[in-house]
Each structure stands twice: as C-alpha cells, then as structure tokens.
C-alpha cells in the first residue's frame, strides 16, 4: 500500500458521517451496536504547527475497532504530537480527528465548528487511555492509589469497587504484590506496567502508547511488550509509537510510517517492514538491521 491508497481509504467517501444530534447519543451508549462499522479513529488532513514549525502536514489515518496500529518514523517526525492530538492534549490547527465517530476537541452546529469547553474535552478523554514514555505515575500515591484515582474521582465508582478492579488489573500486569509500594520503589518496567494498569482502569476503548519502552533498560523492555501483546490479544484497539520492530512484526495489524509530518507509507507489517515501497521508509528501516 502506498500513501495514495491511504488517502483513498480515509477519503471523503468513507469519511465519518456528518454530525447529527443522534451522534452524541450513539456515542453515549458506547456504540456497541455499531462495532466494526464506526472506525475507532479517523484523522483527516490533520495539521499542527508550533510557531513557525509545521509539525503535522496533513495526516490521514484510520484505525478500525480492535486494530493494533504501530506508528514508525524518525525522531521529530511528529509521532508524539499526532498521538497527543488524538486526546486533545494538543489542539489541531486544521483537519479533524474523530474517535468512535465523535469529533475531538470541537463540535459542529449550524454548519459551523466551535471549540469545546474544557469540561467537554475532559469528558472525551475518558475513553482514550494513554501511556507515556516516562510513565508519569503519581509519585505521592501508592501503586493502588494511582490505579484507583481516576475511576473514583472521574467515573465516580465506589472505593471498594475501584479497588477490586484495580487489583484485578494489577494481577493482570503481574504486580498485585506491589500494590502498596510507591512508584519510585519500582523498576522502570514495573512502573510502566502500573501506568498501563492505571490507563486500563478507565476502561478505555482506545489506548495510545507513546514509546512505552524507550526509557527502559533493554532487559526490562520484554515485560512491558509482553503486557501489551496480552492486551492486543484481548482485542483492545491500540495505536503504538515504538521503535520495537520485532513487536510491530509480531503484534501489529498495520504499520504506518511517518516522516516530516506526513504519512508516507501504510500497510501490513510484511508490506511496510519487509518490502517498503518508499525510499525514506527503506532508509529508516535500514538503521534497525
């Protein structure tokens, strides 16, 4: 697949239906009925600049429900920025991003587009989990408190209920016995697995991973990738920025190569990683051999 194919795949004909009043209610009910029809993420000609520097120059990307997409690209190509636009940590300048058919950060009414209020943006972020390169666990809270914080504070779950789910999640990432530890008492790999559990505790429909293993010692990378592989197997929709080519080959449904703020190539791991069509993809991948 080439860049042109990508344009076509997310072009106007398959674009998200125009916003209607019904859209909000469809989103609120979890869109479970239409699973498989509404794509998880649709980015259309997304542009973003920081001052003079145009970091995203018309990104088109579609992520289907349950799909694992790995985003590759050289440093400074805008991968992190794009990921942060999806949950509106950065505000896009042009184009649009829909998650489960809902426009992110803006709302359409009467043929015009309006900015959402901070409160509404906050609400949209509930369904989108994010895992950061530097974990960003809350150091003043224990592992359990980290995982329980948002479900109790944001979703309004009871403490007991939230603790129960948190312990299940910590068991799942293999850290149940560390529940009472503080993040700084854990290794990097353990911290990142707690961060994953913390994001999962919000029951997100989409998980964004921004180089989750880049800050880890090589021997700790495996445990985090194993946890992520586990999530992918369970059908969680994931958009992963990583330099772990092996992980991409094994787990990704699709690999997207970005450079200079544009998507240059997209396709199956075999297509993009083994026989890249774009010379820049080839040059980038040659560094990993």
């Amino acid at each position: 697949m080439t860049a042109q194919d990508t344009q076509e795949a997310t072009g106007p004909e398959t674009a998200v239906p125009e916003a209607t009043a019904a859209e909000a209610t469809a989103g609120a009910t979890g869109a479970t009925g239409s699973a498989g029809e509404v794509p998880m993420v649709v980015a259309q000609r997304v542009r973003k600049r920081f001052g003079q520097l145009e970091v995203l120059r018309g990104i088109d990307l579609k992520v289907r429900q349950g799909e694992v997409v790995v985003l590759l690209g050289p440093s400074g190509s805008g991968k992190s920025t794009f990921l942060r636009c999806i949950n509106h940590l950065e505000q896009i300048d042009a184009g649009s991003i829909h998650v489960e058919g809902r426009l992110i950060g803006f709302r359409r009414s009467g043929g015009r587009v309006h900015h959402l209020r901070p409160r509404e943006v906050t609400r949209q972020r509930r369904d989108i989990g994010m895992v950061f390169q530097h974990f960003n666990l809350f150091p003043h809270q224990t592992v359990l408190e980290n995982v329980v914080e948002a479900p109790v504070g944001v979703l309004g779950l009871s403490k007991a209920e939230a603790r129960k789910t948190a312990m299940e999640l910590l068991t799942r990432v293999g850290l149940a016995e560390k529940a009472a530890s503080y993040p700084r008492q854990l290794s990097g790999g353990q911290q990142q697995r707690v961060a994953i559990a913390r994001a999962l505790a919000m029951r997100p429909k989409l998980m964004l991973f921004d180089e989750p293993t880049s800050a880890l010692d090589p021997e700790l990378v495996g445990e985090v990738l194993a946890t992520m592989r586990d999530l992918a197997r369970d059908g969680l929709t994931m958009l992963v920025v990583t330099h772990e080519i092996g992980f991409a080959k094994e787990v990704a449904d699709r690999v997207v190569f970005m450079d200079g703020g544009q998507v240059l190539e997209t396709g199956t791991p075999q297509e993009v990683l083994d026989s890249p069509a774009n010379p820049r993809t080839r040059a980038f991948l040659s560094r990993f051999l």
């Binding site: 509930r126 950061f132 944001v154 016995e177 586990d230």
Partner: protein, 332 residues
C-alpha cells in the same frame, strides 16, 4: 631490602617481599582515624566562651532572674501570648489561602488575571509590613466611610471606618495581605516544580483542571512549599510583634506596658524572648513532621519510623526492592 625487587616504599616494607604485580593482604578494619588538632582547639575555645557567658548570666544582677521567674507564668503574659498566637494563625491562614489564589491566578492563561496577580505581589512585597500596618490603622483618614453594595449602585452595609477597622482587623489585614504576596511566590515556585508530565497524565485520564490541581499537582508541590512556609510561620510569629505599634496587646506590647510601669525592662524583655523561643521551637518541630508527611513516595526508601525521626537517628538502609514479579502471561 632486596635490590632486585622494584623499588618499595619505606612505609610498606611488606611489599618488598611480594612478587611483582601482587598486592599485600590488608584489612582496613581498626584503622586509626585522622586526627584533627584544630578542631579540638576550636572546641576548647568555645567551651571557655560558654563558661564566660554562663558566668555572666548567673552573676549579673540586672537580669533579675527572680523577676523573670515571677512573670514567666503570669496570666497577663499568657493573654499576650494568646493574642500573638491568634494573630499568627489567622494572618497565616489568610496568607496561605490568598497565596494559593494569587499563585494560581498568576499562572492563569488569562492575561488580565495574571497581570493583576503579578501586580498584587509587586505591591505588597514592595512596602514594609510596618508601613502597611500603620496605613490600615489610619485608613479612616483616607476613607471615612466603608460600604458594601453594588458598585455605583445601592449600598447594603456601610459604617464608619474607625469602627470597622479595629486595631485587631488592621493587624490581620496588614499581616495577612502582606503574607499572601510572599506565599503566592512560594506556592507558584512549588507548582512550577511539579513535572508537566504529571498534569498531562492526569488530563489523559479524564481529570478536570481543578481536580488535577487538587489531587495531583498541589500534593506534590507541597514538598517544595512546606519548608519555606515553615519559615514564613516562624517569621510571622515574630512579625506580629510589630502590631505593638497599633496598641494591640500581643506578647511584646504586654511586657512593654508592664515595664513602663515597673521599670523592670530587662527581665520582662527576657520573658518575651523566652516565650518567643518556646513558640518558634514548637513550630520547628511541627514543621518537621509535616515535611515528613509530604515527603512520602519521594524517595525509594520506606518512610522512617517515628522514634528514629524524633531522635534524629539515621534511617536504616531500606531493603533492596524484591526481585521482579513474574509476568502476567506466565502466571495464567
């Protein structure tokens, strides 16, 4: 010494018998410590000075230690102390609450708000507290009447400034508003000290701005805010003595009014000094406890036990973290 061996040092004759490249068997346990003759001299000098000071305190009759003893527990002194503590507490509460508001306002994206808050800090930090106190006290000369109501509209309450702004209120306003300016800078420094990634992680979890501030940023900023705030409280306790110019019966004013009658100036000042020292010492200990609370999770060590902490004992080295747990998939 064998001449065929590599040159050996005089201090280490054993080395001469060793084959080249080998190292002698040495055990550093029981090594004699380095001597510090100058340190001993300094200790001796200080001991002599301390003895002299002690002699001076005991033998100088002007201290009138019996008078000090008589007044130290007097009820009137107790009332002065109560006023001092009350002023410190209320002014500090105003200072902390106001400081948080001004700090958050200064960091706001709203330009007008941040400029106004910056101007507040500039103004109140730029004028001596004593001048501010006197100014509040004399507010009636500037504004004979104070009223609350709709701006340029009807009034709800109004009254003469002189009856509204009592010396007590002037003291609270002067000390509290001044303190808010200093606290604002301390709080702002603390908030800036918290990694931006914390705010982002919390936002990505769907937490709103107020909740992020309250649950994530402020608790971490506390580690930076508490130590300077502790010194602010101690400073405030001492600064309350300035209100004696407003004829407010704090500790200093109380002893002053006694010695103006009895001329026992020095012993009464000593009573005040001793009480100020007692209060600041209590604050110092309290501050240490609060610091310890907010330091939780800040180091890789488990929190220190109470008695180790209270007796300034060094914490025993925390055990190394247990070996990594097995992966989830290996367990299932």
């Amino acid at each position: 010494m064998a001449t065929t061996q590599p040159p050996a040092t005089r201090d280490d004759p054993g080395k001469a018998e060793l084959p080249p490249g080998a190292v002698p068997v040495v055990d550093v346990a029981g090594a004699s410590p380095v001597r510090h003759p100058l340190r001993w001299l300094a200790v001796l000098l200080l001991a002599v000075l301390a003895a002299q000071l002690f002699h001076f305190l005991i033998t100088n009759p002007h201290f009138e230690w019996s008078t000090v003893g008589a007044y130290f527990g007097a009820q009137v002194i107790g009332q002065g102390i109560a006023t001092t503590v009350e002023l410190t507490a209320i002014a500090m509460l105003i200072g902390i609450a106001g400081g948080v508001l001004v700090a958050v306002g200064r960091m706001s994206e709203n330009r007008v708000l941040s400029t106004v808050c910056g101007a507040y800090v500039w103004f109140f930090r730029g004028i001596p507290v004593l001048v501010q106190l006197v100014f509040w006290y004399n507010l009636s000369a500037l504004l004979p009447r104070i009223s609350f109501g709709v701006p340029f509209g009807p009034e709800f309450i109004s009254g003469h400034t002189n009856t509204l702004i009592t010396p007590w209120l002037a003291a609270i306003l002067g000390l509290g508003l001044n303190e808010a300016a200093y606290m604002a800078e301390i709080v702002r420094g603390g908030l800036l000290g918290v990694d931006q990634g914390q705010t982002e992680a919390a936002a990505a979890l769907g937490m709103g701005r107020a909740r992020i501030l309250r649950r994530v940023v402020l608790p971490q900023a506390m580690r930076f805010i508490i130590p300077p705030t502790g010194s602010q409280v101690i400073n405030m306790l001492k600064a309350t003595s300035l209100v004696s110019v407003l004829a407010l019966a704090d500790l200093l004013y109380t002893v002053q009014s006694i010695y103006n009658r009895t001329f026992e100036t020095i012993p009464l000042l000593i009573v005040a000094c001793l009480w100020y020292l007692v209060m600041t010492s209590v604050l110092y200990v309290g501050q240490s406890f609060i610091e310890r609370y907010y330091a939780r999770g800040a180091t890789r060590h488990a929190p220190q036990g109470f008695w180790n902490f209270a007796l300034f004992r060094r914490r025993p080295d925390a055990p190394s973290p247990a070996a990594d747990s097995p992966l989830a998939k290996e367990e299932t």
